[in-house]
């Protein structure tokens, strides 16, 4: 006999109230990051040099702009999911934990926003 309520069993979300969302999001973003990060690394390595004009004109190509924006967004998303768990595991004082999680969340939006803005500025400007 299960001690779980019929409602709880139907929803299947457990104590965290979000079921397997976090787990799945982490795996899907992980799979997406395999080609994205390798593309970024080896594209930069394949450039003849890393001078200002070279890198800028490479990033301004539409396909590179698109992939770079996706890379920054998924990188920040995956990283946010991971660091969030680290805080949840090691920070136990409630107020400190909430403050740390909020700060992390804001920082990630800020960093991802700045990165995407920079890429779009390069692609659309000049």
């Amino acid at each position: 006999m299960s001690l779980r309520s019929p409602m709880g069993r139907v929803l299947g979300k457990g104590a965290a109230k979000d079921g397997t969302d976090h787990w799945w999001s982490q795996r899907i973003s992980a799979v997406a990051l395999i080609p994205l990060t390798l593309w970024f690394l080896f594209s930069l390595l394949a450039l003849p040099d890393l001078h200002y004009e070279t890198v800028r004109s490479w990033l301004a190509l539409p396909i590179n702009t698109l992939l770079a924006v996706i890379l920054v967004a998924v990188l920040a998303f995956h990283s946010n999911l991971g660091t969030r768990v680290i805080v949840e595991d090691y920070v136990h004082a409630r107020a400190t934990k909430i403050a740390a999680l909020l700060l992390l969340q804001f920082l990630y939006v800020l960093v991802a926003g700045a990165g995407i803005l920079a890429i779009l500025h390069i692609a659309l400007g000049s």
């Binding site: 992980a30 390595l45 990283s79 991971g82 990165g115």
Partner: protein, 130 residues
């Protein structure tokens, strides 16, 4: 809030170091290192958007001894987290749980990360002196 000390699990140092726990800790550690690496990456992108002068400042920073050491550590963290992440995805799919398979994939992740890091830096060094 707790009225009296409650029983705790044995402390970390009573456990023998094993490959499973070591690589697991390393996976989290490299993930954290990579998360911190988002800051220099964003800084580099913003500098590139800012113009030739700001890009030059960023390029000088990355070319400094500290910058190169950071990039070296970051590249190893990247390759290890990538390979060990694939190892985790294989487990998630239900493969590779046997003792021998776990050891082999563990060595492949750690050794592969070291080899790939060396290869990439050999490539960079070769490019810089070609």
């Amino acid at each position: 809030m707790p009225a009296r000390a409650r029983p705790l699990s044995p402390h970390l140092q009573v456990y023998r170091w094993q490959m499973g726990s070591t690589l697991s800790i390393l996976h989290r550690l490299t993930g954290l290192v990579l998360a911190l690496g988002l800051l220099p990456l964003t800084f580099w992108l913003a500098a590139l958007a800012g113009g030739a002068r700001t890009y030059g400042i960023a390029a000088d920073l990355f070319a400094s001894a500290l910058g190169q050491a950071g990039l070296l550590g970051w590249s190893f963290a990247f390759f290890f987290h990538l390979l060990n992440g694939v190892r985790h995805l294989m487990w998630d799919a239900g493969y590779g749980f046997e003792q021998g398979q776990r050891r082999l994939s563990g060595w492949l992740a750690a050794g592969g990360a070291a080899v790939l890091t060396l290869c990439v830096w050999a490539l960079i060094w070769h490019g810089a002196h070609a």
